[in-house]
């Protein structure tokens, strides 16, 4: 590796950069920002915005092909007559780069002035305002005023680019990031520029429009407000939104995301850079699947079925916990009449407590999770739509393969052997445990966030929290342990499930004492070998790869998903 590193000087700082790296990235290593629009680290370099112009010099070579040494006993540096774009210039040994010389500053001012000539003064309306590179760079590098007095060129303002995206051509600065993304990453070459000069316009190829599952990424990479997502258009200004680092719960890939919320309402979800998982992209189906968080029908309080007519009575948490514990206490250790269906959409901590409660305290044997399987694409979307299948396996909740015990549970209820069923977060009616079977049960306890057939039939319904409302971890398909953070509070008195399980454990005489999610994780790390030595803060924002001890389980998962027949 050492021989592939070159040394260069950027703004007087010595930088050792890998060979082949461009100057924008090399400057980033030195902590220097080179402004740019068209360059994107994950996209091909085109160099058409000219914002990253820098002054590049090379040592003067003597006739002996060796650097000439000047009177100050340093190599003589020859600067080019013109500036060079940083994005398309690779580092070289002995190179000297100025990113803040008067020449560079003047060049940037010129570029900014040209970019703003035809850019409309839309900022008060524009959704990009607040996260707009044009705004930021015109403050940082622009001249502060315009000399342009003529009429601006007007272009179409509202053009639909596919069903999900709105294009404002006036705002477009023709950086072509979207064109390259659709062509190179999303694999649908459908965008391009037509017309010339000031009239250049981004448009779809005739008869085509972006319709992949990754289109919305172009709204993220668009440096200005030209491409905006219909889903978020005019909904909220970004400066009101609180950013919470999270993980997408919609498939086993576990794309790293940011949840943007205001006053307890999540308004959008965007991808977060993590080269080990999703680079800086995410699929549209995952991105748009956040609305259930703020569904008005969310279950907000524990309830008990008070009559055969289906009327429900609201309970406080202590009452609900006590009543359920009273019903479960006589069954303690006689697990043969109890079954439990957990969910691989829950956090690892919740699955761990679920397993402890069901298997160790109540002694249930029939415990499993429900598999959710869809179609995988070749990029990010995984066939396993459970975000935490590996967590369910690691903690022991899931069967081998996942979901294999569900028919046995249905059968046992039918035969009257199982009298008590505890369901967490799954509409089991869809997976073989029919309504007739549920009606036969003596006790059905359901923990869920939204009402469904099962919550209607349940004797006790306990509200849960969505992924945006709790802390915890997921283990993704590649055995990467990733962390969730709470972005918003739960509605009503709903609370994260781990608290509910911990309270039940306490009532039923388990050695509870879990006061915080850290306590749960610590206990889990003590008992489960792959997690040894970890804690929630050590996981970090980008997650950690789990030790090979779980490699076998990971392989088993691949088989099991193939075997599981149920589809979401």
């Amino acid at each position: 590796m050492a021989e592939q590193t070159v040394k260069l000087t950027i703004d007087g700082k010595e930088v050792a950069a890998p060979k082949g790296m461009n100057l924008i990235e090399a400057a980033k290593l030195a902590g220097i920002e080179v402004p740019h629009y068209c360059y994107h680290p994950k996209l091909a370099v085109v160099g058409n915005c000219r914002m990253c112009l820098v002054d590049v010099g090379m040592p003067k070579m003597g006739l002996d092909k060796k650097p000439e040494i000047g009177p100050d006993s340093k190599p003589v540096i020859m600067f080019g007559p013109k500036l060079t774009i940083g994005c398309n210039t690779s580092v070289a040994e002995g190179m000297v780069v100025h990113t803040r010389s008067p020449k560079v500053i003047k060049a940037r001012e010129g570029v900014m002035e040209f970019l703003l000539i035809n850019h409309p003064l839309d900022c008060p309306i524009c959704d990009q305002a607040g996260e707009c590179r044009l705004q930021e760079f015109s403050v940082d590098y622009g001249k502060g005023q315009s000399r342009f007095v003529e009429e601006k060129v007007h272009k179409p303002k509202k053009t639909e680019i596919g069903p999900k995206i709105m294009l404002d051509d006036e705002r477009c600065i023709l950086c072509s990031r979207c064109v390259r993304f659709m062509r190179d990453v999303a694999g649908q070459d459908c965008l391009g520029f037509v017309n010339r000069g000031s009239y250049s316009t981004l448009t779809c190829y005739p008869g085509m429009e972006p319709n992949t599952n990754y289109d919305l990424n172009i709204t993220d990479i668009c440096p200005v407000g030209a491409l905006t997502a219909n889903d978020f258009r005019f909904k909220q200004r970004v400066w009101f939104l609180k950013e919470t680092k999270s993980v997408c719960p919609n498939c086993a890939t576990g794309c790293n995301t940011v949840l943007w919320s205001r006053e307890g309402v999540v308004h959008r979800q965007t991808p977060r850079d993590n080269d080990a998982v999703n680079q800086c992209w995410m699929c549209d189906s995952g991105r748009l699947h956040y609305k259930f968080i703020n569904d008005p029908h969310r279950i907000t309080t524990p309830t008990v079925k008070s009559s055969a007519m289906g009327e429900r009575l609201a309970l406080t948490w202590p009452e609900a916990t006590r009543q359920i514990a009273e019903k479960l206490m006589p069954l303690k250790g006689k697990g043969s009449t109890i079954a439990a269906i957990g969910t691989a959409r829950a956090t690892t901590e919740e699955l761990f407590l679920f397993n402890k409660l069901m298997r160790e305290i109540l002694g249930a044997e029939l415990v499993d999770c429900v598999p959710h399987v869809g179609e995988a694409d070749k990029f990010l979307l995984d066939a396993d739509r459970n975000p935490n299948t590996n967590g369910a396996k690691l903690t022991g909740v899931a069967g081998e393969p996942i979901g294999s015990r569900i028919p046995a549970i249905a059968e046992a209820i039918k035969s009257g052997k199982i009298k008590t069923l505890i369901v967490h977060g799954e509409n089991v009616v869809k997976y073989g445990v029919t309504e007739e079977l549920l009606a036969k049960l003596d006790l059905l306890v359901v923990i869920d966030t939204l009402p469904n057939k099962v919550t209607e039939l349940a004797h006790y319904v306990l509200p849960g929290a969505t992924f945006a409302e709790k802390r915890g971890t997921f283990i993704n398909a590649r055995n990467r342990l990733q962390r969730l953070n709470a972005a918003i509070p739960s509605p009503g008195i709903a609370r994260p499930e781990w608290q509910t399980f911990a309270a039940l454990l306490n009532e039923l005489g388990g050695d509870g004492g879990y006061l915080t999610i850290e306590d749960v994780f610590a206990d889990m790390a003590r008992l489960l070998a792959p997690l040894a030595g970890l804690n929630l803060s050590k996981i970090g924002d980008l997650g950690v790869e789990l030790k090979p001890a779980t490699e076998t389980k990971g392989e088993a998962k691949t088989e099991s998903t193939a075997a599981a027949g149920a589809k979401t």
Binding site: L116, I117, N118, H119, P120, L121, C123, P124, I125, A129, S138, G142, G144, Q145, S146, R147, F148, V149, E151, K152, H154, K157, K158, R233, F234, K235, R237, W239, F240
Partner: protein, 188 residues
Amino acid sequence: MTMQVERPKLTIWERTYLPQILHGLWLTLKHIPQRKFTRQYPEEKPPLHGAYRGAPTLVKDPEGRVKCVSCQLCEFVCPPKAIRITPRARPEDVPDANVEKEPEDFVIDMLRCIYCGYCEEVCPEEAIFLKQDFAIAGYTREELRFHKEKLLELGGVQPDSIWKWKFKGAPPLDAPGAPKREGAGRKG
């Protein structure tokens, strides 16, 4: 440290206090015919300074259009969080559809407003003005949450020269009241 204050020596006549009392009586008597400072308030309004910061209101431009585009900067800058805006897209069939966004509702809670004027200062469209209304009263809290219609009614039409709505044919530079094109901070 205590300080001894030397008291003035009084004559016998002064020590009766009568000269001071008589002087006081004369002083109060003198004031009876003097000009009165009382302002008969509800009928007689106090003269307000031109820059007086009264209730914030929404204004319309001389052509009767709501100037606010619901950029929500006022909502952001408002120190007591008195402003709440619900934005919406404007219909596409209006003649000035280049202004794409408008407030669906614009609420200022006059009970929270502290009349600081930041909203007026921050507004990029000069759509919000602190007018001279200062006696804002009501019987319920809800009554004092002024909605868009009420705010527009209070604001009225602002006779000025903001040309945002002009899609084409901006006024010539020498037109009276035309904005200075090279104004600081204005780009493009």
